[in-house]
């Protein structure tokens, strides 16, 4: 960071009054580039797993639209078509989805990663499996800039959160993948537990380069006219603004306890959301649902621009922003 200054204390005047003006000694916009979970990126605002990343073209488009890194849709050992529809339904403050991990299997996915890399941002492959062996098979079968272990999908039987809610599984799977790949490995955690920090510590013990929090909340919506659960899978995961306060809390707790970086995800749609998550301790953020609910691909640039302007206005760098709420008393 070019110019680092003390963050104004609560009640103190920020170093510059206007949102868009910069302090005199900081004529350029604050840089957002840096390393997040072992991966160098130009912006800490990434495309979240499960959103759009089915094809190389959409990964590339997100990267060209300003995503600092792009995470693929989760890929497993065999092709899956996913659940029947409806697979997504809009609810108060967010979306409920049960896609059911549709993917073409890792055997048909390297081409998509390679196309995605054409966007100029690192491509992180989200992978899932029924156990350590499958995770390793997928990870070693793909060449990506990093892996995100989906140990948290809330709506697939015997996959995702069903294994990811046990700390011992998290640790063993993380370690197994780490031993076989030489790129950073992140672990995406489920919030549907009493102790998300325990899972984060397990990931850390397993050698993870970062944790990603949070996946969706277990949820359900019922059609009042017919009494039918709306999702084809009956149950699904809640995402969007509704879960942001839950995500901020998880990130805060994880960042307080872990040595490895935390990446925040859950309801981020604006630069204020991103700043809040980073103040809670997130080194980077991922954006998902906002791509469908607000401005589409433009969300990456608008969040980054807002963050940059904020840092300029406060005269601080990213290091000061990250974890500010844990230091503020």
């Amino acid at each position: 960071m070019a110019n680092r200054r003390r963050i104004p204390l609560p009640g103190e005047e920020p170093s510059s009054g206007s949102l868009l003006s910069s302090p005199d000694d900081s004529p350029v916009m604050a840089s957002l580039s840096g390393e997040v979970g072992g991966i160098r990126m130009e912006s800490p605002v990434m495309l979240a797993a499960g959103i759009l990343g089915t094809t190389g073209a959409s990964l590339r488009r997100a990267a060209l639209a300003g995503a600092g890194a792009v995470v693929t849709k989760s890929v497993g050992v065999a092709p899956r078509e996913g659940h029947r529809g409806p697979t997504v339904v809009q609810v108060e403050g967010g979306l409920l989805n049960a896609m059911g991990l549709p993917n073409p299997s890792y055997r048909n996915f390297q081409e998509e990663i390679d196309i995605g890399r054409g966007g100029g941002a690192p491509v992180v492959a989200s992978i899932f499996g029924a156990g350590a062996e499958e995770f390793v098979e997928v990870a070693t079968g793909l060449d990506a800039d990093g892996f995100e272990l989906n140990l948290s999908c809330p709506h697939a039987e015997r996959l995702g959160a069903e294994i990811g809610c046990e700390a011992c599984n998290v640790e063993a799977i993380t370690r197994a993948v780490k031993e076989e790949v030489n790129v950073p490995v992140w672990v995406k955690l489920t919030p549907n537990v009493a102790d998300v920090v325990g899972l984060g510590l397990a990931a850390e013990r397993g050698g993870a380069d970062g944790v990603v929090a949070i996946n969706t909340l277990r949820a359900m919506a019922i059609d009042v006219e017919s009494g039918m659960p709306i999702l084809g899978n009956r149950f699904g995961g809640l995402s969007g603004p509704a879960i942001k306060p839950v995500a901020v809390r998880c990130v805060y707790d994880l960042a307080s306890a872990l040595e490895i970086p935390v990446i925040g995800v859950g309801g981020i749609a604006s630069w204020e959301d991103a700043a809040e998550m980073m103040m809670a301790g997130a080194r980077g953020v991922q954006v998902g649902t906002a791509l469908g609910m607000v401005e589409g691909y433009g969300v990456f640039r608008s969040i980054a621009a807002g963050l940059s302007a904020y840092l300029d206005r406060k005269g601080i760098g990213m290091e000061e922003l990250v974890g500010l709420a844990r230091r503020a008393r």
Partner: protein, 256 residues
């Protein structure tokens, strides 16, 4: 929004495999927009509007089978209108519809005729029994018919019907039908791509631009929210006419 429950007030058997359903409410679509139709307990599938208050369904699989099993008084969950529809433009337009693809064009043609636009329709199908909405199209303008088996009109594919028309006369051409047919028509209208609007079809789950299934290679255009109607020049150089993806994301050979 959550699906809205709509009651079926009328069912019309249009062809041996195609039925229209009219609902107790209009969702106020622009012609070419679609809706997600939830057959409760079965699946949710995208369908074009063929009426402001109705859809026209071809029997192709489990969800459409379940729709065919419904009777007047039954209900469906509807989410829409979604996507971007056709844009009306010019004084003389041509509609080119193949099979059940004629459905959104009938709604478009009626809107055009109401606006005083001269409408010509090229209606293509396998045989005369499968011609969809012939009367609706005849009511609003001239109709050229092609059938693969020659049972009515010109014998051959839609392209055979193009020869019977002065394409330069049309300010805008609207396509909906099987992808090979649309790709073929676009190919034969070289140089007119900016005057052609095509409603295209891709597999998708969400209808809100997030599942990614319908992203067109290589640009990543999302059919469900940026389409389903595109000007033909935007489709040039894309996967359109060459391949598509199935539910898992695996590429499938072009259908047709």
């Amino acid at each position: 929004m959550r699906p809205i429950s709509a009651r079926i007030v009328e069912i019309v058997q249009e062809t041996p495999t195609v039925r229209s359903l009219r609902f107790d409410r209009s969702l106020g679509p622009v012609p070419g927009q679609y809706l997600m139709v939830w057959v409760r307990g079965i699946d949710e599938v995208p369908m074009s509007f063929s009426y402001r208050d109705g859809i026209t369904v071809q029997l192709v699989g489990e969800a459409t089978r379940a729709i065919f099993d419904l009777e007047v008084g039954g209900s469906l969950g509807l989410r829409g209108p979604l996507g971007n529809g056709f844009t009306l433009s010019g004084e003389r337009i041509l509609l080119v519809g193949g099979g059940v693809g004629a459905a959104p064009l009938a709604l478009l043609g009626e809107a055009a005729a109401e606006a005083g636009i001269e409408v010509t329709t090229l209606l293509a199908s396998r045989c005369c029994d499968d011609l969809l909405f012939l009367k609706r199209f005849e009511r609003i303008g001239e109709v050229v018919i092609t059938t693969d088996d020659g049972s009515l009109g010109i014998c051959g594919r839609a392209s055979a019907g193009l020869s019977a028309l002065q394409l330069q006369e049309f300010d805008q051409i609207y396509l909906c039908g099987p992808e090979p047919m649309m790709a073929d028509v676009i190919g034969r209208c070289a140089g007119m791509e900016t005057k052609i609007q095509a409603s295209i079809d891709r597999y998708f789950k969400c209808g809100m631009g997030i599942c990614g299934s319908c992203s067109l290679d290589p640009s990543g255009i999302r059919v469900c929210v940026e389409g389903p109607v595109f000007r033909a020049d935007r489709l040039a150089g894309t996967e359109f006419g060459r391949y598509r993806r199935g539910a898992s994301g695996i590429k499938l050979l072009r259908d047709g």
